[in-house]
């Protein structure tokens, strides 16, 4: 190893250290922005080092420079535009698209490396083809799977689970074809067989995500994020670059942790989500005491009195709030209550949005200070001391039936909303959540239902509180 390449490898490790430090600083909202800057500095160092390496080697053609710069400029421009204009409600789609292009780029790196080595006389060494193969498979699955996931989130593709008879057989067939072609590539270098692997992996990615329902999207995005990281790490093996290996492993670990957290929050195994869609109608266990019991409704004025004279209010936002884009209205109501001296906080279930932490971003955008945003474990003991729990568009995550065995959601961690002194639920109808069962919270004698769209309901509540105070 020459002194120059020794130095560049060391600088790559420095860049990777910046990534670790950057992620470490994200353990607190106060330091997170500095963390993001550290990561970017690491990226700048890595790119500058690579430019120096390329210039030093001196084998690059003029076309090579042009292609590299043009690609970077076009991609950077697209990324910048998307990042500047995206609505916070559309963040899951954007992250999914970023997963797709990351996986795609990683797969392309491996494909090119294989083409280059196959063109050389002797054929590639065996160990290179194993990592190349893994990179191509994981990268391609991520690419097509993430595009489908983004399409489902955007509503371009139906968010309902899509499946057809024999889908599982086709999946198995694709996996078998991919593995067979992969095995063939390892024993006998063949570009044609590699393309079979690419096509089979792309098709597999599509078929993997299509049958997964909209409610499981937080898990899918996290999982695909982990895949992207792994694909990038494999690309690092292929081209022998430590920066890629370390960065890819970090992203893989991050995606893995989030996948586990999301699956736990829904009380489902990852395999279970991948194999079969949720809400496919097979959870038929009847809810106890649901059907016959009646529900109590409440008018805006009465709800306003309860809220305005409470000393502690916990707001429980669910996906219904995000769907109605009512985050600004809820923040306005909360401000109003706070100015009257009411202690207001938000209880955020891990799967409240469409991706991990989505609800927090939506509320932060509406100027809700982050110390008010409380995680499930932190907020649950507080419900017993709460005068009013205001549930907005959240369903299954508040259902006390989860504490009992024998229901579709048994064992799922829930927010202990039913322990509050009184509960107001804003909801459009008595419709079921994704689990398809009755919510026992709604028939609790302490609960009053407010049937309306979240945005209108919150605006009406806010004006009712104002009239009351004035």
């Amino acid at each position: 190893m020459s002194g120059f390449s020794f130095a560049t490898q060391l600088i790559y490790v420095l860049a990777a250290s910046c990534f670790v430090l950057g992620l470490h600083l994200m353990n607190n909202p106060a330091t997170a922005r500095r963390g993001n800057q550290f990561s970017t500095a690491g990226m700048a160092i890595a790119v500058a080092t690579t430019l120096a390496l390329i210039a030093h080697a001196g084998v690059i053609s003029t076309t090579g420079w042009i292609v590299m710069l043009a690609g970077a400029l076009v991609g950077g421009g697209i990324g910048l535009y998307a990042a500047r204009t995206v609505q916070m409600t559309a963040m899951p789609q954007l992250v999914s698209m970023f997963n797709a292009v990351g996986g795609g780029a990683a797969a392309l790196v491996a494909i090119h490396d294989y083409i280059r080595l196959a063109a050389a006389a002797a054929g590639p060494a065996e160990s290179i083809t194993v990592t190349t193969l893994l990179d191509v498979i994981i990268g391609s699955v991520t690419f097509s799977g993430s595009i489908i996931a983004a399409g489902k989130l955007q509503g371009v593709i139906t968010s309902a689970p899509v499946s057809f008879p024999g889908a599982r057989a086709v999946n198995l067939l694709l996996a078998a074809a991919g593995l067979a072609a992969g095995g063939y590539v390892i024993s006998t270098p063949s570009l044609a067989a590699l393309w079979v692997v690419v096509v089979a992996s792309l098709a597999f990615g599509v078929l993997m995500v299509m049958p997964i329902g909209g409610a499981d999207m937080p898990v899918v995005i996290s999982l695909l994020n982990a895949f992207t990281g792994t694909a990038v790490a494999m690309a690092g093996f292929v081209i022998g670059n430590w920066a890629l290996i370390i960065a890819g492993a970090l992203v893989g670990a991050s995606g893995g942790i989030l996948t586990k957290l999301m699956a736990d929050a829904m009380n489902r195994s990852i395999a279970n989500i991948i194999v079969g869609g949720f809400g496919t109608g097979d959870s038929t266990v009847a809810a106890v005491g649901g059907a016959g019991a009646s529900v109590r409704t409440i008018a805006a004025d009465d709800a306003a009195i309860q809220l305005a004279y409470a000393s502690k209010v916990i707001i429980v936002p669910g996906y219904g709030l995000a769907a109605a884009q009512a985050q600004h209205e809820v923040a306005e109501l909360a401000d109003l209550l706070e100015s009257r001296g009411v202690d207001v906080s938000y209880a955020i279930h891990p799967v409240a949005g469409r991706m991990p932490g989505h609800m927090n971003v939506l509320l932060a955008e509406a100027n809700v200070p982050y110390p008010q945003l409380k995680e499930m474990d932190e907020v649950n003991p507080e419900f017993a001391r709460t005068d009013v729990a205001l549930v907005i568009g959240a369903n299954d995550v508040t259902n006390p039936a989860a504490r009992r065995p024998g229901t579709a959601i048994s064992g799922m961690p829930i927010l202990d909303v039913d322990q509050a002194k009184s509960i107001i639920v804003i909801k459009r109808s008595m419709g079921h959540g994704y689990a398809g069962i009755d919510n026992e919270l709604y028939t609790d004698p302490k609960t009053s239902m407010y049937f309306a769209d979240a945005k209108t309901a919150l605006a009406d509540l806010a004006s009712a509180v104002k009239t009351l105070v004035a």
Binding site: G71, G75, G76, A83
Partner: protein, 116 residues
């Protein structure tokens, strides 16, 4: 199995552990920015795309280099910018306390107007 592959594997496994350790301390509040920051970090694959452009001399190689460089830099730039945008919104206290009441009265008037 070569020494180089073994070294790479050791680095990979240790980095995974570092990742688990560091990221398990990130609060749920920041999980969305964490994911977009991860998007930006896996944009490091740009380095691989640049090396393709540097070593190839066939049209297919240039095509692959162009697409890979485009994908990866979209990750780097987009991931960084959108993470910054989100993190800027996380505040301990609302940014402008003073102008809020004025704006609120405005909304009240219009809302009451609508209601009546």
């Amino acid at each position: 199995m070569s020494t180089a592959l073994l070294t790479d594997l050791v680095i990979f496994v240790l980095s995974l552990w570092v990742g688990f350790e560091v990221i398990s301390k990130v609060p749920a509040t920041l999980h969305t920015p964490l994911m977009s920051a991860a998007n930006s970090i896996h944009g490091i694959v740009l380095v691989g795309a640049m090396l393709i452009a540097a070593t190839t001399n066939s049209w297919i190689g240039y095509l692959i280099a162009f697409v890979a460089a485009m994908f990866a830099s979209a990750n780097v730039v987009g991931g960084y910018v959108v993470t910054g945008r989100m993190l800027k919104m996380f505040r301990r206290r609302p940014a402008a306390q003073a102008p809020v009441p004025a704006a609120e009265t405005g909304t009240v008037a219009s809302r009451n107007g609508q209601a009546s």
